[in-house]
Amino acid sequence: MKRRLFRSLQAKYMLIIFMALFLMQISYLLIAIVLSIGIDLYGKGSTGAADMPSAGEIEAKWHADAARLTGGSAQEVRRMFEKWKAEYPGAGMFWVDGEGRLAEQMDVAEELPSVWTAAYTAQFIKSRYGGDPFTVIAFAGGRAAGGFVVIEMPREQFDPPLIKIYNRYGFWLIVGLIAIVLLFILISYLFFRGIRRRLVQLQEAMTIRDVDGLPVQIDVTKDDEIGQLQHSFNRMVVELKESKRREQEEEQLRRELIANLSHDLRTPLTKIRAQAYTLGIHPLTEEGRKAIEAMEQSIVNMDHLIDNLMAYTLLMANKYRQEAKQVDIIRFVKEHLATWYPLFEKEGFEVEVELGAVGHPVWTIDPLWMGRVLDNIYQNVLRHAKQGRYIHVSTEAAKEYDAIVIEDRGTGARPDDQKEPRPGASPSRPDRTGDDGGMSPAGSRSDSKGAGIGLSIVDRMLKGMGLDWDIRMTPGGTTIKVKRMNGRTSE
């Protein structure tokens, strides 16, 4: 619990905030300490200036010392100046005697006239009044005849130590504060950049797919909130893989079941055919021969029905594998028809082929699916259009679609023949004259059962490949169009 708390991003963020607050407080404290130390140091380093008397006290003292001058000799004045200089090193002093001559001076910053007229003296007094430097004028010996002594001191010497320190270190204090704020911003930025980088890496890792199309597990490097998210993602991947494995197992079981069922049904059917064939090679009555032929036909029908039932079961469960490819449809139909041609020929069909150019000759289809679709259609033609003995396979290039058209001369529809699922029967299709797609000629009701499932497979497979189709049945024959609508964007 404790370890997790320290690995938590929230805890880290709170730590940064507290650190920032702490740093601010610490910095104020440090400034205060620095100031107090500075004041002490300043006080010591400024030779008693920390105990600087007020301007009024200095003025009074200067007047008192000036009044004590007796003879007005230069030596006496000098001694007084030296005493004051020792006490106030920043001070400048001078003495103008009773005749108005500049008799003595010490550390005066400006150039002074050697003879002081009344006008200059008045101007000097006026300029120094309330100004900087702080100036005190006192009569030497307390009489105007002794002349006057002047002391001047820069007013800053009377400033409090805090202001002096601020004037000296203020810039660095501001720089320090800004540095602390910038440091906080930098740490925050690095913290969030780290989070962002890991989130981006996580997002990228989530998009990587394994060979089975599922996401791959992520390496978890830290145990914080993002680490927890990665753990959750990994758990989800494991569950997905498990689910996929179960699904594949189920699919495999279903396929095995269908394959075994197919095997178990076809094996006895082969035995029946063997018996029928053996019987057929012996001399038989006309009736016997017909019975053998009917048995043969039933075997063929059963075979196709089993095939269709298996395919339909897989299609209904969406387990019939589809692998779409770009296929030259004219070539495909031609080659496929070539495999059926001998059967039509054997049954005495007239086969007409007119496979001309279409707008889009390349269709995206699964050749196995398309082959099965055509197998079902041709099978139905063979079974239900025997009387017409005619099949016409052509292409149609219309504005809205390209189509493969298969026509026969069966004797027409029997809407009540079918009890099987209807292939896409929609009342909105004006060209669908029959309601079942059974293509069943009159007089072949029993034969046509099973054609419905065949055409349901046709319907499902064509729709599964994004194709359309329609069927038109008339007493003169049946026309099936397998259409590729020109609005398709897949090619």
């Binding site: 049904l265 094996t267 055919r273 298996m310 070539r331 031609k334 070539a338 041609y341 396979v393």
Partner: protein, 222 residues
């Protein structure tokens, strides 16, 4: 006489097929399981295998046979009709026929496979022609004259013979013989067929050897 190795565990079906093929002039060795089938690999001209067998299944037997004798044609004869089974079977086998089959179809497929593997009879009779396939000779039986074909005509005719009784589209023929994609409207194939007919047919205007299947292609039928 071609030797057929036949593996089928269903006694009724096995007996029937063996009788039928023997009646058609083949020598048949019938085994009821795949065990020991490999020892016939070198002696047999073709193997016909059921898929669901006790012990080793037909796919495994077929693969072992192919390993022993890669040129041996293998025909899978199975009641398993799913696409997956067919794809698995055709991964190594040369043909796949589903039950319930007609014995004529089985015999026809065996004949095609034997011919493709050049394990068929020396002389192939086609109407008035005797074709000595292994020797590459064609003799007109009316006058015993040998018909000489050009290289391309010979390849073309060979391709028809390998696909005897099969309807071949123009695209299939052109791509197999010329080794290039067929371009719609190209007359090269038609010209070669015409020249071939002039040499082979009694009346090239009414061809009997190389049939035209309108709208689809051509066929040489026995």
């Amino acid at each position: 006489m071609a030797h057929i190795l036949y593996v089928e565990d269903e006694l009724e079906i096995g007996g029937w097929v063996t009788r039928d093929l023997t009646g058609r002039g083949y020598q048949v060795t019938w085994l009821t399981s795949g065990e020991g089938a490999e020892q016939y690999a070198s002696r047999a001209d073709i193997a016909v295998l059921d898929v669901m067998l006790p012990g080793l299944d037909g796919f495994s037997v077929g693969k072992r046979l192919k390993k022993e004798a890669p040129d041996l044609p293998v025909l899978m004869l199975s009641a398993r009709s799913s696409v997956e089974d067919k794809i698995e079977g055709l991964g190594f086998a040369d043909d796949y026929l589903t039950k319930p089959f007609h014995p004529d179809e089985l015999a026809a497929r065996i004949e095609v496979l034997l011919r493709r593997a050049q394990r068929f009879e020396d002389v192939l009779e086609l109407r008035h022609l005797n074709v000595y396939v292994k020797a590459g000779r064609i003799v007109d039986t009316r006058n015993q004259q040998e018909i000489v074909l050009t290289g391309k005509q010979y390849h073309l005719f060979q391709y028809f013979l390998k696909n005897l009784n099969r309807i071949l589209t123009k695209e299939q023929i052109y791509e197999a013989v010329w080794g290039e994609p067929y371009i719609e409207g190209d007359k090269t194939l038609m010209v070669h067929i015409r020249h071939l007919r002039e040499k082979l047919e009694i009346d090239p205007a009414k061809p009997e050897i190389i049939e035209t299947i309108r709208g689809i292609g051509y066929r040489v039928r026995r």
